[in-house]
Symmetry: C2
Subunit: 440 residues, 2 copies
């Protein structure tokens, strides 16, 4: 189907390494695994994704419930917490999600793709779990050696405060968020035109917004905004700025403040965020050849969503949550390209030894030996031919990267040994190994 | 949704262990990983599953292609081989499949469930890959310690030969297969009535079939049938019996013949099998209390399907395949029940140490210490409270099974040490560790 793809072994080998690194990090931070069905009730997903709702895959009505394929892992997590009345949980979930998007497969955008999510649910002291999410992003991006990166942070409350003090009517807040979010792709002038032209904002309000959302910095900027005569009077903005200060304190203790940038242009698209939001981007390496720089974009993102669980609870009980989603598909694209460029071949199997025979009528000996190897936990293969040529067997090792060949011929059977050969160097050792076998 | 379920952390921990054992075995046998989309074109799935076709989940027509959720992993594998013109491949695939079946969740039957498949595609000498599939089933069931088991084998060619020599018209072969397949659940008399009453077979033909399909045994039975005056004249049956003899020779070399039983009542439901078929069943332990024996049924199955790939190739080029599917959901149900009965608690996280403080205003020290632990690859947690009570922190360790606590208090900060305590024994050691920290 359009926008989907098979993952051949060469991809899977790289993917497995990636997933293993991500899962190891999630487990290091004490997360438990959770899995939810790929199918959800249609009503569970409706009204959670803003513009995204129209991209939801729905199932045919074949009698029974109206079903849809999950759009992300966050809404199912919130549904799970509410359904089971769970108030505290730290979980990770790696699974496929589905979006009827216009696929841009060359840029790693598919209709079926993996998400890798880590979320912390529960009533806690401010910013401690939020800071841990940033630490996780930092650990994963560092470990994968993707190059230099930056984690932009902002807070929905600060943005809403900015909109309020700039004179934006509250009904336009979400729509303004989506305009501001485009600042990483287009200049302020264009975003301003969209606000004023398409969205009917007054030019004065737009200009006032422009003075804020183009700011970015660190602790100094937070302090500056806390002293801003207008913003400091706004309750939400003040809360957001206070928490942002705390967040910077904690990430400094974590030793990762150097990669964190408070960026007022970060808005993020999803409806459900209520507090801190963040996004990690790869920083383009300097390009001496003056080529067109390739935009790599966001490789992780997340934020706080304190209201989502309450939407699924009959009594509206809230469970505050903060979480991070690793953009594994984009990371995979980058690593795949890099691997391609390096010309290195990835092994798709882990076979340690090929069991081979140099003469005919020795299939029985091969079967017996390989069976003993398997039972000893050794990864072993043999050719599925009764009497394969030795050259063909050695060729198979070279093609698939098997490092060792265990050879049993007439002589070896008589001497009660197996000849173990290193494929690349052709070094050989004889190992005592008695096979009691009739030729077949 | 009906027939689906969330997999909470306690399930996931057990599942991960199961999957790891299965994947380790598949890799030991040199298989590469392959993943295909959960969505397939509707036409890919149609006409492959016999009665199963009506259980396929179809997606709503939202413009574009007609899509359906995969029903198994075998048809997508065959589609992949044909699409990419691959003639040789050994792959495993662990993923969810979807069937709009009447769910029987208490017996581990769901509408969304995992399949764990290992398949070998390619033109090879007879029965070598087929025997390896049986070896794989043997290795996995032995390793999981599910109790005694038996692997029943048969061959579609032998069954077809039996039907032919018993005077069954060829048009009734598939329908007769499905009747014969019920012999593990109902006595021959009932199966015979179905054949004669519902399916319009002559009573004489049914009686002749009855004399064959109730037979089971080993090499002796194969030899007996090879000398059977009627069956030995049937080309297909003779081929099947010859290969069965070879299979027994190979599994004897693998040392697993004791668990293999040639059983003429094994037929298996799917349309696409063309040769050897097999199914592993757990053998009920003796029950001294004379209780109703619980039927655990099949825990693995598979067979040879030499025609399926050709159905997807425009030129009909055939790629012979043989494969095995591990019934992971049923195995999971059994292990879960066993775990429940044992009263043992499964840890859902792998956290090694909790970072704790006995006094107030030491959050900074905790953050700094835990950050160093994470960076050193140690699985560590802390409570997300500014000033948690020590008792609460220790309680958290007991609740979640964290074995160690790293304690830093005023005294430890002064002494430049961390106190490491074993939760169960309360043993303590002091470790030199200097945290340069301002209290916060």
């Amino acid at each position: 189907p359009q926008g989907t793809r098979d993952q051949p072994p060469a991809h899977m080998a790289l993917r497995e390494r990636l997933f293993a690194a991500v899962v190891a990090c999630f487990k290091r931070h004490g997360a438990a695994a959770l899995d939810t069905p790929a199918l959800e009730l249609r009503e569970t997903l409706m009204g959670k994704y803003g513009d995204g709702t129209k991209l939801i895959y729905e199932l045919q009505d074949q009698g029974g419930e109206r079903l849809a394929l999950r759009y992300d892992l966050t809404v199912p997590f919130a549904r799970y917490l509410a359904m089971n009345k769970i108030a505290t949980m730290k979980r990770y979930h790696i699974a496929k999600v589905y979006r009827r998007d216009s696929p841009a497969t060359s840029r790693g955008r598919y209709r079926e793709f993996y998400q890798c999510d880590f979320d912390i649910a529960g009533h806690f002291d401010p910013m401690i779990p939020d800071a841990e999410c940033l630490k996780i992003v930092h650990e994963i991006l560092s470990e994968l050696k993707l190059g230099d990166f930056l984690i932009k942070v902002n807070d929905r409350r600060i943005l809403h405060g900015v909109f309020a003090v700039c004179g934006v009517p509250e009904s336009k807040f979400i729509s303004m968020c989506s305009s501001v979010d485009k600042l990483d792709k287009m200049p302020w002038e264009d975003v301003r035109s969209e606000m004023v032209g398409e969205k009917g904002l007054s030019p004065e309000a737009a200009d006032r917004i422009g003075q804020y959302v183009q700011l970015h910095g660190g602790l100094d900027l937070i302090d500056q905004l806390l002293q801003d005569p207008k913003l400091s009077q706004n309750k939400l903005a003040k809360e957001g700025l206070g928490d942002m200060k705390l967040l910077f304190e904690y990430v400094t203790l974590f030793g990762i403040a150097g990669k964190i940038c408070f960026d007022l242009s970060l808005a993020r698209g999803l409806d459900y965020y209520t507090g801190v939001i963040f996004e990690a981007v790869l920083v383009q390496q300097e390009n001496n050849h003056m080529e067109e720089p390739v935009s790599v974009g966001s490789v992780a993102g997340g934020g706080r969503y304190d209201g989502l669980v309450g939407m699924f609870d009959p009594k509206g009980r809230k469970v505050p949550c903060v979480g991070v989603s690793i953009g594994i598909e984009r990371i995979f694209s980058i690593m795949e390209q890099r691997l391609k460029a390096s010309g290195k071949k990835v092994r798709t199997t882990e076979t340690q030894v090929l069991v081979a025979t140099p003469q005919k009528r020795l299939l029985g000996a091969r079967l017996k030996l390989i069976s003993e190897l398997w039972d000893a936990g050794i990864k072993a293969e043999m050719l599925y031919k009764k009497d394969p040529k030795l050259l063909k067997q050695l060729q198979y090792c070279e093609d698939t990267g098997i490092p060792l060949v265990a050879i049993i011929g007439e002589q070896e059977l008589t001497d009660r040994v197996v000849k173990l050969r290193v494929v690349t160097t052709r070094e050989e050792v004889r190992i005592t190994f008695y096979i009691r076998i009739q030729k077949c």
